[in-house]
Amino acid sequence: MSSSKRLQIILLITALLTSSSICRAEITVALSKSFVNKYKDKATIPTTFNIDKHHNSPNPIGSGSDDGDIHIAGRDTVVRLPMVAEIINGAKEPGALDFLLQSTAGQAIPLTGVWRLWFEHPGNEDQVQGEEVPLPKNTNPDHIFEFHPVVKFGDFDVLKSFGPIEDEEAEFRGYPAEKAFNAYEKRPATITKSNTAIMLTSNKAAFNYVEFQMRLAGKPKDVGDGYIVFANVYNANAKANDEPVIEESRRMIFVKGSAPADAVKDLKKGNKLHVLGIPRVNLNLVYAIASGLQGDEEYSESLPYEMIIVAILKD
């Protein structure tokens, strides 16, 4: 083989490797172990949140990113990662929206929200919990952490927002179960640990909202601020004998006081609900995996996830 041919092959391989690594764009978030242990089985986190940038009106309601959310970028005192807070069904919370519009840049407010780690907008830089969080430049900065949905915004209880996302003209339904869950199942993850931190690496995720039918595989467990229950996942219109879209049951998270939580808390194994949900990392499993790792051992498998249930939908 001639030298020029060899050089061409080397250049081709280099280009392929470079392009594949760019496509993968893996980002690592380093989380404090005590933080993970504290919140792994909680639905929400109460914090003090600085409002830095915000939408002036909710997203329109339709499909895809037209999800009716109000985006607020900010920084907080508990999680201390780049983040956004999202009030779902923004049009149904005029009091909270008015309060937001009257807020000043950087204003600190009490906020409680469902914690959500998900690599939806990870950007290109690793994130370390506790490091100084840069001032966001827009309402959707690079972030892996969200308060989504918000439960309490300032003095405004926004639990009413946990319902079908609709207006007079349209209803937002999310992606079909089969498509979204098959994508969630294939999310990559690498988990490592140090004495004080857990490092979680993955790449950009898609399919934010998903509509599905859940059938309880156990009984709901009260975790203080919510309920957690195992459920099997079916297509929204699944019949009794249909197969679930994924093999194993998944943890479903309900926020106490919300309509979905009221609907699930007294249900029994086998009962079903037609729901709208969003995925988040299952920190309970991440913590368990990290606890089982030895030394510098690395865990590389699919990303453990669970579903936040934000609405009960009509059949």
């Binding site: 242990n37 089985d41 156990g218 865990y299 453990p304």
Partner: protein, 322 residues
């Protein structure tokens, strides 16, 4: 035949293979010793004692008691905690919620009905002076007189203490790994120098080891598997090592041919050095040697035909019911 398809490479593969098998045995023994010695449960008890120690529940002895009761004893006797004991055997895990509920209940025992922040504050202020009282007073000061926030703060306090417990547990496990590796090495006479000599001088044995190493490289990486066993409890996953942590009969036979006290000549002045090398290698852990085996296999078979290369598998991870 070049360097990378040579006896040297096969000997290295054999050595890595032996280290991997011994590491897997060491991990299994460590887990067995931990279960036998109730190490995890004892560490939890130690953590709880440290958290609640040096704190009496009352200034004076209660009727029928000779001395004031320590808070830690009251905690152990609380029905919620007592039911977690299997006879005298303490639990291996205590949830932050159970801790905060039991402690709050003990501190507000005099008040009937639902627990309020004021009840809890009164209960804490009645405690005799002590470290726990100081900690609780500091925690309650930042709770906006909200009982839910107070419970949350107590759970956080418990979590921080349990992080320290995890640290102790990990350090003890690491120490036990070295102890068990040393015992295993000496009992099995796993002398790195002798193993290398056997692999170098016995081409039949070497070839059999390399073939079995290929099979081992196809198995899952020996790492953790996580599974929720109880469908009614979505908060307590069980962590185990996966099927890559088991030795096949053939692997045991080959290991038996490479290590052991076959005759008295097995011990020579270099044997302790060979043991030391083996102990150091085992303490690196099975996942490390599994990854190393895969890397060296890729080098070893890089010059083979595509069919032959296809026999060398990709590394596979463990399965998780996530």
């Amino acid at each position: 035949m070049g360097l990378f398809n040579s006896t040297i490479l096969d000997v290295i593969i054999g050595l890595i293979f032996v280290y991997l098998l011994l590491s897997i045995m060491c991990t299994a023994a460590n887990e067995w010793v931990a279960a036998l010695g109730k190490r995890r449960a004892k560490t939890l008890v130690r953590g709880l004692e440290q958290l609640l120690n040096n704190q009496l529940l009352t200034e004076d002895p209660r009727p029928g008691e000779k001395t004031p009761k320590p808070l830690v004893d009251a905690f152990r006797e609380h029905p919620l905690i007592k039911t977690m004991f299997n006879g005298e055997r303490p639990p291996t895990y205590l949830s932050p919620r159970s801790f905060s509920t039991s402690l709050t209940d003990i501190l507000t025992a005099e008040h009937g009905g639902p627990v309020t922040f004021e009840n809890l504050l009164k209960g804490v202020s009645k405690l005799p002076e002590g470290e726990v009282k100081k900690s609780l007073v500091a925690l309650l000061r930042h709770c906006d007189r909200d009982i839910d926030k107070a419970r949350f703060a107590i759970e956080g306090w418990f979590n921080d203490a349990m992080d320290r417990v995890s640290g102790w547990y990990k350090r003890r496990t690491q120490l036990w790994t070295i102890v068990i590796a040393a015992v295993l090495t000496v009992v099995a006479n796993a002398d790195t120098i002798q193993i290398t000599r056997k692999l170098w001088t016995d081409p039949v044995l070497r070839s059999a080891v390399v073939e079995e190493a290929k099979v081992r490289a196809q198995k899952p990486r020996p790492t953790v598997s996580v599974e929720y066993e109880n469908e009614d409890d979505p908060t307590n996953p069980t962590v185990t090592r996966n099927e890559g942590n088991q030795l096949s009969d053939k692997e045991r036979d080959l290991l038996g041919a490479l290590v052991g006290w076959h005759n008295k000549d097995n011990f020579n002045p270099f044997t302790p050095l060979g043991w030391l090398l083996t102990v150091l290698a085992i303490s690196m852990g099975a996942p490390f040697w599994f990854d190393m085996l895969n890397k060296i296999m890729n080098i070893r078979f890089a010059g083979k035909s595509p069919d032959e290369r296809a026999k060398v598998p990709e590394k596979s991870g463990s399965t998780v019911r996530a």
